[in-house]
């Protein structure tokens, strides 16, 4: 599976729950938010077992900054981090079951912070986890 396909799968999985962040009115979500949400999911999952610093000096800070801004509200995000995410997906390896459980927790936490009900966040996280794991080199 290539990285674009992985992001598409994540966006398809989340579907209208991408609107969880919004309350009263219906807004057509800018498309960029969907792609940022997909990247945020990948980063939050990988950080459970992958050291971003291995991608080069300052990489961990870039990812940390991205997630910090995303959690404040994705429209504030201006960093382009997709290339770094692609690198991380190439370099990371399928981890132990224990590490996967921790990674899943990070993912659920991101989705609930984004406004999803915990049950819905867990259901999405389970599917997204499988998509990311199947995208990693064995």
């Amino acid at each position: 599976m290539n990285q674009d396909q992985l992001r598409t799968d994540i966006i398809d999985e989340i579907g209208p729950d991408a609107h969880s962040l919004y309350d009263e009115e219906r807004y057509a979500i800018p498309e960029i938010i969907l792609h940022l949400l997909a990247d945020a999911c990948i980063i939050e999952f990988l950080k459970g077992f992958f050291d971003f610093e291995g991608l080069g000096k300052g990489a961990r800070d870039r990812f940390g900054e991205f997630i910090r801004e995303f959690r404040q509200g994705p429209e504030l995000v201006t960093l382009n981090i997709s290339g770094d995410v692609d690198h991380a997906l190439t370099a990371a390896r399928v981890p132990s079951d224990e590490a996967i459980a921790e990674a899943r927790e990070h993912l659920v936490n991101l989705l609930t912070t984004y406004g999803m009900h915990p049950d819905i966040a867990k259901a999405h996280a389970a599917v997204i986890e499988q998509s990311i794991l199947s995208a990693l080199p064995q």
């Binding site: 674009d4 992001r7 598409t8 966006i11 398809d12 579907g15 209208p16 729950d17 609107h19 969880s20 919004y22 309350d23 009263e24 009115e25 219906r26 807004y27 057509a28 979500i29 800018p30 498309e31 969907l34 406004g115 009900h117 049950d119 819905i120 259901a123």
Partner: protein, 448 residues
């Protein structure tokens, strides 16, 4: 002389009638006739929305029973309150041509189906929908009676609720005896009464006639009144739990249906999944609205905005087929070719063709459209190879008749491609193949 609407600009693509019959009928029966025509007028209006420098153009959408809403296309946004910034410009939907109606498009579809569809019962079913759109007389009586009968059998313990529910789905939703939104409200009311064990009082048809539930005749009013009545009774807590259960189950299942539609093996089989998805998203939003109206705090796992978006996107997916089918078949590949030429990524194009936000086509057919678009530019050879791969893929499906349209589209695209390159042998092959399929189909339908 009235304008004659043409499917695919009268360009012949084998299988079009199958797909058009299946999808246009479903799209037209989401809403009741008047609302469907208004929605179509809105779609047409938005498609021609002006772009005014320095202004953000909004259209006002009047709702007879509710406050107005406002919609903008550039950028896309929907609001329930009037936009008030200095840059906002609010327009009324202009009166479109009085002949540009869904009714006239359905008539064009009926003409095509009489030539190309073999199954007479399918044509009869479409003729009923056409009659519904062209006559002033309200329809849906049969669907209402089916619900009233199921209601009677369930409350008296004489019927199996599961079997009755299945029959209501088959007859009323999938055979279009009620509009999708009326069906969804009726099904919610029917299930909620059974779950609560509290039924709306029946009336006698005549003084000594049998008892009959009139609740399904003005079903939205009945549903909201039912919830309001129970909310003020000792059943309030149980009502809260049942509304949450109905909403949560339907919301989760709706997303699964839309995913099935995107991954369906054919466009025609994806229609049923989209209809079920729209139906379940509508129930999910209906129960939240009912809870809000009666100040019930029910443990829904989703917000109203999510259910509304799910429903709106699924309805858009069904509705988009009408524009696709009544335009020139080259329009969509041309549009995609322009996007590719301007550097838009394939991933972004696919998001707008086949995602939960734009569930217009199946994932495979969306890729067929992109391959067709490649034939117009520097990626000609890649497009040709991809189309031959899809030709092979669709040729291996278990039920080839289900992918008549997809195969017909690929034949049409390959015919044009080989004609352009001057490959006479391949041109003759595809021309003969298309002509043969049409001659056989029309001969068979003509024998009836």
């Amino acid at each position: 002389m009235p304008h004659r609407y043409k499917i695919f600009a009268d360009k012949v693509i084998f299988g079009t009638a199958d797909y058009a019959l299946n999808r246009v009928q479903a799209a037209c029966r989401i809403l009741d006739k008047d609302r469907a025509e208004n929605a179509w007028r809105l779609v047409q209006g938005l498609a021609h929305a002006p772009q005014i420098p320095g202004k953000r153009v909004w259209y006002r959408i009047p709702h007879p029973d509710d406050q107005d809403s406002f919609i903008s296309v550039h950028p896309g946004e929907y609001r329930k309150s009037r936009p008030t910034s200095g840059d906002d410009m609010i327009l009324e939907l202009s009166e479109t041509s009085s002949s540009d109606t869904l009714a006239n498009r359905l008539l064009a579809l009926l003409d095509l189906c009489r030539e190309d569809i073999l199954d007479q019962s399918e044509i009869e079913s479409l003729a009923i929908v056409v009659k519904h759109f062209t006559k002033k007389r309200p329809s849906g009586r049969e669907g209402v009676e089916l619900f009233a009968n199921a209601d009677q059998l369930t409350r008296s313990g004489d019927g199996n609720r599961h079997e009755l529910t299945q029959r209501l789905f088959d007859e009323c939703l999938l055979r279009y005896k009620l509009s999708l939104v009326e069906f969804s409200a009726a099904m919610t009311l029917f299930q909620l009464q059974a779950m609560m064990g509290q039924w709306i009082e029946q009336k006698r048809l005549r003084i000594f006639g049998k008892k009959y539930s009139q609740a399904y005749e003005d079903v939205f009013r009945s549903f909201f009144n039912y919830v309001h009545t129970l909310a003020a009774s000792e059943h309030r807590q149980k009502l809260v739990e049942q509304l949450a259960e109905i909403g949560n189950v339907n919301y989760a299942d709706a997303a699964a249906h839309v995913k099935n539609a995107l991954n369906a093996p054919s466009l025609t089989s994806s229609t049923t999944s989209l209809v079920l998805g729209a139906h379940q998203y509508f129930i999910a939003l209906l129960v939240v609205r009912a809870a809000e109206r009666t100040s019930l705090s029910a443990p829904f796992r989703y917000k109203l905005v999510q259910a509304e978006e799910g429903y709106a996107c699924t309805q858009t997916g069904l509705f988009s087929s009408i524009s696709f089918l009544f335009n020139d078949p080259d329009d969509e590949p041309n549009r995609i070719a322009r996007l590719l030429a301007s550097g838009v990524s394939e991933r972004r194009i696919l998001l707008n063709l086949c995602s939960p936000f734009w569930p217009c086509f199946t994932k495979t057919f969306a890729r067929v459209l992109i391959a067709t678009a490649r034939l117009q530019g520097s990626q000609f050879n890649r497009g040709l190879t991809e189309l031959h791969n899809f030709e092979q893929e669709y040729g291996q499906v278990a039920f080839p008749q289900n992918v008549n349209f997809e195969s017909g589209w690929i034949d049409h695209a390959l015919l044009n491609a080989y004609r352009r390159t001057g490959n006479q042998e391949r041109t003759r092959y595809y021309a003969t193949r298309i002509a043969g399929q049409l001659i056989v189909t029309r001969a068979l339908s003509g024998r009836r």
